[in-house]
């Protein structure tokens, strides 16, 4: 069984994560679409931390017999990986869009530059 103190500490940490994310959304420093994954992470961790029987059951399913809280780490790690991968796709898209914009700017500059004037 998950020790009670681990359960409490992990629950507090999860709640803090959720609160921080909500605050970032409220102050418009984080867009909702990027916050959803973080909120999901916080909620799942909170559920697993607080619901001790559930964590034990899941630990049993995946063969973790000695120390059920290890499942918490595993789940947290998995979510972080998903978030990071998601960010890689976001960066890729941004850099594609960035290239397209740079090309557009260069082509438009060529168009508006008076004939015979040197590019700067």
């Amino acid at each position: 069984m998950t020790p009670l103190r681990i359960s409490i500490a992990a629950s507090v940490a999860s709640v803090l994560l959720i609160l921080v994310v909500l605050e970032l959304i409220r102050s418009r420093r984080l867009r909702e679409r990027y916050a959803l994954l973080w909120l999901a992470t916080g909620v799942v961790l909170l559920v697993l931390s607080a619901w001790r029987g559930g964590l034990n059951t899941i630990a049993g399913w995946v063969g973790v017999t000695g120390y059920p809280p290890a499942v918490l780490f595993a789940v947290a790690t998995l979510f972080i990986l998903v978030v990071l991968l998601h960010y890689s796709t976001v960066i890729s898209r941004l850099s594609d869009q960035n290239s397209i914009l740079a090309q557009r700017v260069a082509l438009l500059e060529e168009r508006v530059r008076p004939k015979g004037e040197a590019p700067d």
Partner: protein
Amino acid sequence: MPERRGIAIVPAYREERAIGGVIAEIRDADLDLDVVVVDDGSSDGTAAAAHAAGAAVVRLPFNLGIGGAVQTGFKYALEHGYHLAVRLDGDGQHLPGELPKLIAPVLAGEADIVVGSRFAEGGDDYRPPLARRLGIGLFARIVSLLVRQRVTDTTSGFQALNRRGIRLFAADYPHDYPEVEATVMVVKHQLRLLEVPVRMREREHGRSSITALRSLYYVVKVLLALFVGLFRRYAVPLEER
């Protein structure tokens, strides 16, 4: 038949010293080609030198790498209604005197894209360093398999394209080290690819964009792109409306 205006696309990054000569050589080849230089965010006087030599200059606000620069040239060609584009590197390694060999099959309607190869039968007796030769040979073999057509020089940026080719590359062009993927892309889009033997010049100024340190990244990146490309759906480009 549409008019046959042609343009030479010259991507250049820090080629202040070479670019003027390249443009002059293109003019001297007397092929009635306009010239656009795409300055890939150079910090030197590349853009000014190209302008002084009489080329149209498209200056990227920052360095995009060769793929992004070349694609800018294709977009320019597309938007200005060119029906023929040739691509030469800004460092002078591609000889404008060889251009007629590339252009002829395009004008004759035999191919949508013609690539100048240093290794094809009757081309240069060019012998690059062993590591590069192995890399080029490996890609040539893989690409030949993928496109079911013999390709000997997948890294050549010396090309001529018709309007269909221009439209494809303006819409979609691979990023860094683009030529290998582009070759496969062309065939998957059902454009006709032709290789012709050409001579090239040893570099005068500057070095290849492929340095020793980057070559591993180069090989891995291109292999990954080719592999993933196998599972990508390709659209057949729209005909001119």
